[in-house]
Structure formats: C-alpha cells, structure tokens
Symmetry: C2
Subunit: 432 residues, 2 copies
C-alpha cells in the first residue's frame, strides 16, 4: 500500500515555527512520523513576513510571502498558524477551515476570543481545529481532556499556566528579593517582555484558563467570564510569610464547578499548601491539576513555553490532523453546555491571608478584629511585625465568603488607625 | 440524526468492574457520555463467577454466568475484560478480537506476556485493544504516548508505577520505621497483599514498564527483557541516609534509549534527588516522567490504583472504542521496532550508594577503598556510623559502570574485614 501524503503549510516562522520546521525536516524521524500520522507529512510552504531575510534553516523554495496563499491553497491539507495576533490570524484560520483544511494553532489569545465560533466552523466543515500548544507549552493536557477524560465528570481544573510569573514568584522565594528587582532580572534574561502586562497582570493565564474550562466543562470561550488578579502587588513580606507558614505563593488559573450548574473561572495569586502537588512546580515549569469525580486528582507537568516544547505539542496536533485527514475523519470539538452559568465571585468561599499596615497604639487590634467579626470573617491566626507607625499585621482567616472579605476590607480602610491595606491572598489546599 | 448505540459487556465485577458499572449507570452523565462517545453506551451484560451472590449494584437481568458468552456474542461491540489472570483472559480477549469486537482491559500481567500478539490481532481484525487502566491507575499516560507524543522522539520514560511500594517507602521515610513493620501495617490497611511478592519484588512494576516501553519505543512486550530488583532489602538506615543527603528512595521503573539502537528496561530502587519532580510523589500516588527530545521533561501524576480511578481510565477507553466503532475506525496499535536491541545492564552507568558492615580495625578503610579503586569505581563521599564490630560504612560513588560496581561488590565480599554487603542503590537526578 502506498503511503498517503499530507501536505502541510506553516504561517509564521518565529521560535515555534522554526522548531517545527526542524522537526518536520529531521530525516531520522521520517519513519516514526509516517507510523504516527498514517501518512507522510510533506512541508510544502512557509509564509513569513519578509522573504528577503536570510533563514538558513528554511529551504528557499518553501518560502512564500503571503499567508493568504497557504490558507486558501486547496492542495494544502493542514495549515499551521503560528503568526499570532487576533485579526489577520482569524481571517486566515476562517479561510482554511471553510475550505476543509485542518488548522493547528497555538494562538491562545485568538482562541479565548473566538474559539467557540472557530470550533463550530471546523465541525461544520468536517475538519479539525487543534491547539495543544496554546496551553502549557509542551504539556499534552488539551488532548487528554478531549479524549481520555471525555467520559469523566471533572470538578476542577487548576493550573500554573504562565511561566513568567512562576519564574518571578519562585525567584522571590528562593532569593528573598522584591517583585520589582526580580521582574527586571527576568526581563534582562528574556523571561519577561519589556511590557510584562500580559503575563504579570494575568491576561495570558486567563486566556489559558478559558481554553481549559471549555474543554473540561463546555463553557463558551469567553474571556469576560473570568475574574482576574495579577502578581504585581505581591511583596517579599508575603512570600516570607508563606515560607514560614508552609505555603508557596503561585499565580493560579482555576475553573471549577460550584453548585449544580455553575462554573467559576478565575486567575489570582494563591498561598498553596506545601503538600499540594502544585506547590513544588517551580521556575518556568507549568502544571495543570485536574480533579475528576472518579479519577481523583491528576496532574500534568512540563515546560510551559519555549520553541521546542511548544513545537512538540504543535507536531502532535499535525500528526493527529494528518491521521484524521487520511481516514476522512475529524474529532468532534467541545460543544457549549448552555445550561452552565457563571458562579458569582462574591459567593465563593476560601480562607484568606490579609495584611494591614496600622499605627500601633492601644485598642488597634480590637478595632481591627471587630471589623472582621462584623462581617462574619473568623480569624484563624495573626502575626505582627514592627512597632509604632510601622506595625504590620498578617491575618489568616477561616473559610469565608468573598463578599464578606471584600466588605471587611472596605470597612478596614475606613479605620483611622489603618494606614494601608496590604495583600489579600486566597489559600489553596487547606481546610477550615 | 438518531444516536447510535454501542453495546458493552463487562467480564468481572470486582472493585474496578463495580465502579465502571456505577459510571455507566449514572443517569446524570448520560448526555456527557453520548457527547464523548458519539453514541449511547448500553451496558448489556456483566459476567461474574457466581451469579447467585447478591450484587446490589448490578441489575439482575444483566448478570450472566459465562464470560465466554460475552466474548463471543456478536451483538456486543465492546468487551471489557476485568477478571485478571493470564490464561482464560487470553482466550476470551482472543475470541472477542477475532470477531471484531473492541477490547478494553486493565490486565497488565497478560499484556506484558502477550500484548504484542494481541495488539497485532486487534490490528488484523481492524478493531481496538485499549488498556489505559493497566498502568498508573487513573493516569491517562498510555493514550498520550499513543497520540500526543506519537511524533515525538522520546529518550526516557521513568515512573513510580507501583502504589504499594511507594506507600511503604514513604511510610519508612515519614515514620522512621523498618521495612518489615511498615509492610505489616500496609497489609493490615489493605494496601499490600498477604503475599506481597508481586509488588515488593517489582514484578508488577516490571509489567507496567514493559507496557510503557512498547508505546514509547516500539519494544516488544517481553517481560524477560527487563532487569528487576525489589525493595525488600531497603533498610531504615538507607532511608535516613537519603533524608540526610537530599534524596528520597523510590522504586523506579525505567525504559530509556542508550546509544544508537538499544533500549534499557529496568526496575530497581533509586535515590532520587529531592529537586527531581518524582521525589515529591508520595504515598499511594503514581507518576510517570517522560523525557522527549523536543518536549523536554513531562510528568503525569495521579492515583495509581483503586476501583474508581482505574474505572475512570477504563471508561476513557470504552468511550474511545465506542467512538471508533461508530465511525468504523480503529487506532493503529504500537508496532514493534525490530531494529532495537536490549542494552546490556553491565554497560549502564550510574552513581551508586553502597553500604558495608565491617570490623572496625586499622587498615580497613584502606583495604575497602582499594577494591573500589581496582575496579575504576571512584568514591565521591563516605560516612561511617558505629564502631568496633558494628561499623557501618556508607559510600556514594561517582558515575561508574554497572559491571565495575558488580565486580567491586564481589571482591568486597571476599575481604575478611567485610562482614556484610548492605545496600547498593543507584542515584537518579544527580550528575558526576
């Protein structure tokens, strides 16, 4: 039997694209790829913005100057979109899907914005839209949610899905440095962008949580459903408190069932108890923790970014798309469960770590704690450091409602003796 | 469009079978399962040894007293084998595959023995043989190796794949108890069998490594290719040494490429450096660590045993098999790469922890260390505890050949001053 050929076009040859081209060009892997894909993957075109720039690793005859040519070329079976951005990429993916090509992308921002419609478009054209590389770099979590866990009732997905913030928080912990200095270091090492907003304010993590949530629960890919807090307000004192008390501060993306028919999606820093598997995920690693009703806790760990790991995930998608193409099949994408609502943030419950800078004078503690009590927020422990005008109070509460804690903070800010509300960080992996 | 029906028969209703029946009978999950399987899963028969025993959770009309009836019934699309054993199960699976039924099993012993032939039989009959539940309980690692990582060049698979031994080693570490007393405790808690040989001597882990290796590398499912050591010789002193020196002792199953065309498969205890992701996998958890050429390190963590987690894995297979049935497709199983040889154990290199009980008299250390030197085994560190007739020496070597270390142990045993060779444990996650 002759081996069928699947023709692949790549749009964008940055670090991921270049690594993917290397993988597809590796002659030692040809047989293994044929075995895996049920076909020979033939790279036929690579679209880059400026074809006059020297690209030593890309054979010149593959270069085309128009991404549109690849999207619309009826002889290209699998279109790999690695250019990024949401506007042009959306058009190109739409063009490719409409003509029945399979599309592989790692474009999390586009998916968080338009993934629901694009998935439906893929289904309507009996083709595949795969995006393993969009979440967790090289970690094959999305296909697991789509396949192995498709029959499982998932209760919660919780991940460290942004390598930059995990690098910064890990460095603050290991080096005892303040946020600003670690951010500068991360920027000079290339681990953080010169404008780090997308990472440190949690936008990147939010897009990834939205994608995870759609596959775990059937929520629409809707970035506006997500509550978001970044790590810019984390202080060294918080990190030191965590270390002293058996926690590690992580930026978590969470999506979980709450009640009968509601999902809560959110991104925020959390004090993770050291015994929790996510607590030991350090540096630029990513991890996704899944709680299934039957499977119990599961965790996937791997490199969350970088050209080669992400290219490995993209290649896995290309292989799956090619195998489907030759068997004239496509994978049914997630479908939106319209019975699911968004659980109100204020009704969530958690234990909290809260810090206040107060003027240290008689009666302060009584005034402060009575505000907690007025809102039914019960205090589990309190530490004080400093004296006089620089007294710093650190509270850990019992499980309390978000809305009650918010109201507590509002009223605390009104106290004359409270100079500043410091941090307010949720605890994960602890009871009561 | 009418929803197609896929008829499922289950052979064996022990803890996993009973949990699977519960999952298939959960009315709240019917729609989700239809979505996932592209069909309605109808449980039509459950074969148990003695149908007169009361099984409150199994509707009486489903019970049949003959497993053969389910294997050979042409109206049953997916046969789930959960009876265990290798002889009758082999016949039943063969019968089912030959008539084109899909087979789902968690029978690791049978797969390690006959998985190559059974996989070929499934392929020849254009049907599926799935066995996610056979390795790592609820952890969906096998499908990831078959799909997401199918295009990746994997260099090493290394796992904690036996929950009983991980429970025992974790307890020895946390409680400071000797092996024998922890084993008794594990037996009374039901975590270890009354005859614990399959677990503590590494047979169970070896079967799982053989399965992982076949999917990662295309090695034949051949239990005889694997080197095996259990945990029965681990002493509390070894565990305490590990704790003092930044290691955790784990029973590891390893399969890795060595050289151009050879694979080394082995099961043995190892001192795992605390920074390694496998070091924090405690208690009854399982984990599989995969090193891919592009993906870099990846790890899967989850509950390695138990009815519900394993049933979740089995259900994932049933869903995949059903989806394939209705689209008249099957997944190509692993094919054996006949170019791969078995790497000779003696030529492997590792750092070693070695203990000796010696008579403490002048010149002993010189005699002992000269034996190491004679075999080119270089000592990195040495600790001594006890004096006189009870002196206990603990060495850590630099990287050395297995064959040289074996020869060293043989010659050490010949020394008059050496009363006993204690432990010899490989180090993992350290250099030089």
């Amino acid at each position: 039997m002759e081996t069928p050929v699947v023709r692949v076009g790549i749009i964008g040859a940055g670090t991921v694209g270049a690594a993917l081209i290397d993988l597809l060009s590796d002659t030692s892997r040809v047989d293994a790829l044929i075995d895996a894909a049920g076909s020979r993957l033939e790279l036929v075109a690579v679209a880059i913005r400026d074809t006059t720039r020297v690209r030593s690793h890309i054979p010149a005859h593959l270069l085309v100057d128009s991404a549109e040519k690849i999207a619309s070329d009826p002889t290209i079976d699998v279109v790999v979109e690695l250019m990024g951005g949401t506007s042009v990429a959306h058009e190109l993916i739409t063009t490719a899907l409409q003509r029945g090509a399979s599309v592989v992308t790692a474009n999390k921002a586009l998916l968080a914005l338009s993934g629901t419609a694009l998935s439906a478009l893929a289904r309507d054209n009996a083709t595949d839209l795969f995006y393993e590389g969009a979440v967790g770099g090289g970690i094959p979590i999305l296909r697991a949610l789509r396949t192995s866990l498709a029959g499982e009732r998932i209760n919660r997905v919780m991940g460290i899905v942004n390598g930059t913030t995990n690098f910064i928080l890990s460095k603050m912990t290991s080096e005892g440095s303040e946020y600003a200095s670690v951010l500068s270091e991360a920027q000079s090492l290339g681990y953080a962008e010169s404008d780090p907003t997308a990472d440190v304010e949690g936008f990147d993590a939010a897009a990834k949580v939205t994608i995870l949530s759609s596959l775990a629960f059937g929520t629409a890919l809707d970035g506006s459903a997500i509550y978001r807090e970044g790590i810019t307000k984390i202080r060294l004192a918080d990190v030191e408190f965590a270390t002293r008390n058996g926690y590690v501060i992580k930026l978590l993306g969470i999506s979980e069932r709450v009640g009968a028919s509601a999902i809560s999606q959110r991104v925020h820093p959390a004090m993770v108890a050291k015994g929790h598997p996510l607590a030991s995920v350090a540096g630029a690693f990513n991890a996704v923790f899944v709680e299934g009703a039957s499977s119990g806790p599961l965790m996937w760990l791997g490199q969350g970014a970088g050209g080669a790991p992400t290219a490995a995930a993209v290649l896995g998608d290309v292989v799956a798309a090619a195998r489907n193409k030759v068997t004239k099949r496509f994978d049914v994408p997630f479908s939106v469960d319209t019975t699911l609502g968004t659980f109100p943030m204020g009704e969530l419950q958690s234990a909290f770590y809260i810090t206040l800078n107060v003027i240290d004078r008689p009666g302060v503690l009584s005034a402060v704690t009575s505000v907690f009590g007025d809102h039914d927020v019960s205090i589990r422990s309190m530490e004080q450091s400093g004296f006089g005008d620089e007294a710093h109070l650190m509270f850990v509460t019992h499980i309390a409602f978000e809305s009650d804690v918010s109201a507590t903070l509002v009223d605390l800010a009104k106290l004359e003796v409270v100079e500043e509300i410091g941090s307010c960080i949720r605890l994960i992996g602890v009871d009561g």
